[in-house]
């Protein structure tokens, strides 16, 4: 169909290039072009739509960075700003540039332009302010988990800044941006300060701020830097020393806002300021708030600096503990609180343990071990499902797709780390996906596969019939649906072998077989011989007849010869990445005369000690340094001396002349 394809491309390109004429016609509206926007900045004459925000004397524009080909936010002072402001303005950029952290806005560049004065550029975040989000979260449908999660990430950013000796001093929801993809970024470091450094300009700066509305949204009588409602008493009082605890107070106010839907103090600006200075925050008993959270708030918002948290991390830990149901540092927990919380966290386990004391008397502790293990697995699975469910709130179809993708983490990518556990987890996630979208064929198919791999044939048959699927898998499920399974829930080995050998007839079943053998090997207690299965599976991946596969059980030697052997891996896209040969305990591997090229493919052959690669196409022996081969056999002149010199000392090289 090459003609159709190129025809299609022609239509595509023709329609696309029509936009050229379009653009030419519209280029009379030049103010819309990024380059003109810039030019207009120079002309001090720009269109309002390029302006993103204006606060005090600061303006933020959206600009296009040609060198990097991206849009940025550019901040500069408003026209006519006094030169005295240049330094403090640029300080915000310099300060922020110190802080390279995912939860802190990134500053790219700053400088001084002789016409416009100072400017700096930052990443342009599309999203909205945290204040907007808080406004949208009415008390009826408040997603506390999400808000607390955002709050913890704000804490991450501030903890990092504190570790770099930088204080923010103007934390409030409006200064926190929530990106389109959930990123949390702390912005507006305009009032920030480096701890322990007395700013040369800070005197001037404070003076300047007596002018209302200067750099940030400080609209007060002047002596104040910060935002009423969020600022600490020491920011209001004259000569108050600012410290980490000042930011912690603001974090406390934000947390208060999250939990109570308003800031700690209400009233006119002056009233708020007075209340802040006067004293501690009171949370009425009528408010329904758990003791844990109540104590965190009171500790963060203590009037007395010493009474507040000593660092952001402590506060963070308390919130995390609250979320997980532990007591918080702020609660001053006694033994009863602890026991109570312990019981609440582990109610099920506590009850079970009591119940099982009885079983203990019967003398077996083995059950408990298994119980604990399965509880762990259930818990992990539940956590996976919970996070998945929480993250993907909005669109059902995306949720289902995400869940199926998530299930593949278990059924595909991490499968071989622990086949049983991942089978279980994949099935849990798929069940959730099917709950959301009961007719998802993809989820059903994966589910059938996982049932089949775990040798639950009646269920795999059920799903496959539902899909009207007529694959080998369906035939085999039908055949084994009534077969008796052993204690481990596995087919009798001769039947399992039959099953694999039939699947191996089709080269595309490779990944299915690989997972089935891994599962079987992990579960089966009796010792069995996987050799015929491995051989059949391996051979299914080889094109051509010139192959000789000989495995000697007593010496654990495998001889793989013939031009047909080009790789130890499968050519299937889906596979573990390790050779199927790893299910044999190969000690000696003879690849003479094969077309093997990459020794990386020996990954997973843990017992391999002797390797013969004479007359192969192997280019580099270096991968061997990662494995435990002790004896390497090569031809004279097959590798350069420098190549062999790079081999680790434990590898003995035997050279044969042809």
């Amino acid at each position: 169909m090459p003609d159709d394809k190129s025809m299609e491309d022609e239509t595509y390109l023709d329609s696309l290039s029509e936009y050229y004429d379009f653009a030419q016609d519209s280029s009379t509206h030049r103010e819309e072009l990024p380059i003109y926007k810039k030019a207009r900045i120079k002309d001090r004459n720009y269109k309002a739509d390029t302006l993103l925000a204006r606060g005090g004397m600061k303006e933020v524009y959206k600009v296009y960075d040609e060198k990097m080909g991206r849009h940025l936010a550019l901040a500069r002072l408003q026209e006519g700003a006094p030169e005295l402001l240049y330094e403090p303005f640029l300080r915000e950029a310099a300060l922020t540039a110190l802080l390279d952290h995912p939860n802190i806005i990134t500053v790219f560049d700053y400088g001084l332009d002789d016409v416009e004065g100072p400017f700096f550029t930052m990443e342009l975040k599309t999203g909205h302010g945290f204040d907007q989000l808080l406004k949208d979260q009415t008390s009826e449908k408040r997603d506390l988990k999400r808000l607390l999660d955002i709050f913890l990430r704000i804490c991450d950013g501030i903890a990092f800044a504190h570790s770099r000796q930088v204080l923010h001093l103007d934390l409030k929801p409006a200064n926190i941006q929530i990106g389109q993809y959930g990123e949390v970024v702390v912005c507006d470091w305009g009032l920030g300060k480096v701890m322990g450094k007395s700013d040369i300009n800070s005197e001037n700066f404070d003076q300047l701020l007596i002018n209302p509305d200067l750099l940030n949204e400080v609209t007060l009588s002047g002596k104040i830097r910060g935002t009423p409602g969020y600022m600490a008493p020491e920011q209001i009082l004259k000569g108050g020393e600012k410290s980490k605890q000042t930011d912690i107070y603001a974090l406390g106010s934000i947390l208060y806002h999250i939990l109570m839907g308003k800031t700690p103090h209400q009233g006119s600006t002056d009233e708020i300021l007075n209340k802040t200075v006067e004293g501690d925050v009171v949370i009425p008993d009528s408010v329904r708030l758990s003791l844990g959270l109540r104590s965190i708030l009171l500790k963060a918002l203590a009037k007395d600096i010493e009474m507040r948290y000593s660092c952001v991390e402590d506060m963070q830990k308390d919130i995390e503990n609250y979320i997980r149901g532990y007591s918080t540092l702020a609660e001053n927990p006694n033994i009863f609180t602890e026991l109570n919380l312990f019981y609440r966290r582990h109610a099920l386990v506590c009850q079970m343990v009591l119940g099982f004391v009885f079983i203990f008397t019967l003398g077996t502790s083995l059950f408990l071990y298994h119980l604990e293990q399965s509880r762990q697995e259930t818990k992990e699975a539940r956590e996976v499902v919970e996070t998945v469910t929480e993250v993907l709130v909005e669109k059902k179809q995306w949720r289902e797709m995400e869940l199926v993708a998530r299930s593949k983490n278990h059924s595909h990518y991490q499968y071989f780390q622990n086949p049983k556990k991942n089978t279980y987890l994949a099935l849990e996630v798929l069940e959730e996906a099917l709950r959301i979208k009961p007719n998802s064929n993809e989820a059903k198919y994966h589910q059938a596969e996982m049932f089949f791999i775990s040798q639950d044939f009646p269920r795999s048959l059920g799903v496959l019939q539902d899909l009207s699927n007529r694959s080998t898998m369906e035939k085999l499920s039908r055949r084994f649906q009534n077969a008796s399974l052993n204690k481990e829930g596995l087919l009798e080995f001769s039947l399992f072998s039959d099953c694999i050998l039939q699947l191996a007839d089709n080269e595309w079943n490779y990944f299915l077989i690989e997972r089935m053998i891994a599962y079987d090997q992990q579960q089966r207690r009796e010792s069995v011989d996987y050799k015929p299965l491995v051989k059949a599976t391996f051979m299914s991946q080889i094109w051509g007849d010139d192959v000789n596969f000989k495995y000697d059980e007593t010496t654990k030697s495998l001889s793989l010869q013939g031009q047909g052997i080009r790789s130890l891996l499968s050519h299937n896209k889906e596979q573990s990445g390790e050779s199927i040969l790893r299910f044999l305990d190969i000690v000696r591997l003879d690849l003479r005369g094969s077309k093997i090229q990459q020794l990386d493919e020996l990954e997973g052959l843990l017992k391999l000690r002797e390797l013969d690669i004479r007359n192969t196409s192997v280019k580099s022996v270096l991968p061997l340094n990662r494995f435990h081969v002790l004896n390497l056999i090569i031809n004279d002149g097959q590798f350069k001396k420098e190549q062999l010199d790079e081999l680790e000392g434990w590898i003995e090289v035997s050279v044969f002349s042809e």
């Binding site: 239509t11 595509y12 990024p34 001084l112």
Partner: protein
């Protein structure tokens, strides 16, 4: 740093300054592949076209200073096609004199007389330049859009109807329209920007 973010000159104008090496390199990055493609279309072999492309670029570099753009947009492309055609002609002549010296070499290249005419070449360049610029612009703006938006737009370019796009991508009809028009608007802006930068 001074005024770095607010230059008013277009790339083409800056490229005229022989000391502004980065502008020239940018210029080359926009034009090189385009020029090579045009030369290949003139039935020149791939190995020869590399040489001629370099030759053309060198010639542009030498003559750019003398080129004055005005409101007539097509002028730069006319100018470009003259240079390309002349360099290709020169190349063919060189080759022929070489060939005359070594009689036994087989002739399998374009004869001078069969070379595309100036006006035809201009037409080809005009058409391909539009494609080149719009492709480039689409590529540039794609970064700012979700894959779905670009997908919608590209499907519509291939003539797929909105309804079908909506069905295939599992979107609402209205969002297909919104996504499409967002990409369209942004594309027009970006194309206009590139035209401004590269042709004025």
């Amino acid at each position: 740093m001074k005024g770095d973010w607010q230059t008013r000159q277009t790339l083409l104008q800056r490229a005229k300054d022989p000391s502004d090496e980065s502008a020239w390199l940018d210029f080359v990055s926009y034009y090189e592949s385009f020029i090579r493609m045009i030369i290949l279309k003139m039935n020149i072999s791939a190995s020869e076209s590399d040489d001629i492309t370099q030759d053309v670029l060198l010639s542009i570099w030498k003559n750019l200073k003398g080129f004055e753009s005005d409101s007539n947009r097509a002028k730069f492309r006319t100018w470009l096609s003259t240079i390309v055609r002349n360099r290709v002609l020169n190349h063919i002549r060189d080759r022929q004199s070489h060939h005359n010296r070594m009689k036994n070499v087989k002739k399998e290249w374009v004869e001078e007389g069969k070379l595309i005419s100036q006006s035809e070449l201009e037409e080809v360049i005009e058409k391909d330049w539009k494609r080149h610029i719009t492709k480039l612009a689409l590529n540039n703006i794609s970064k700012h859009f979700s894959g779905v938006a670009v997908n919608v737009f590209e499907m519509s370019l291939r003539g797929v109807e909105n309804k079908q796009i909506a069905a295939e991508l599992n979107l609402a009809d209205s969002s297909v329209r919104t996504l499409k028009s967002r990409v369209q608007q942004s594309l027009v802006k970006e194309v206009a920007h590139l035209i401004q930068e590269l042709e004025a």
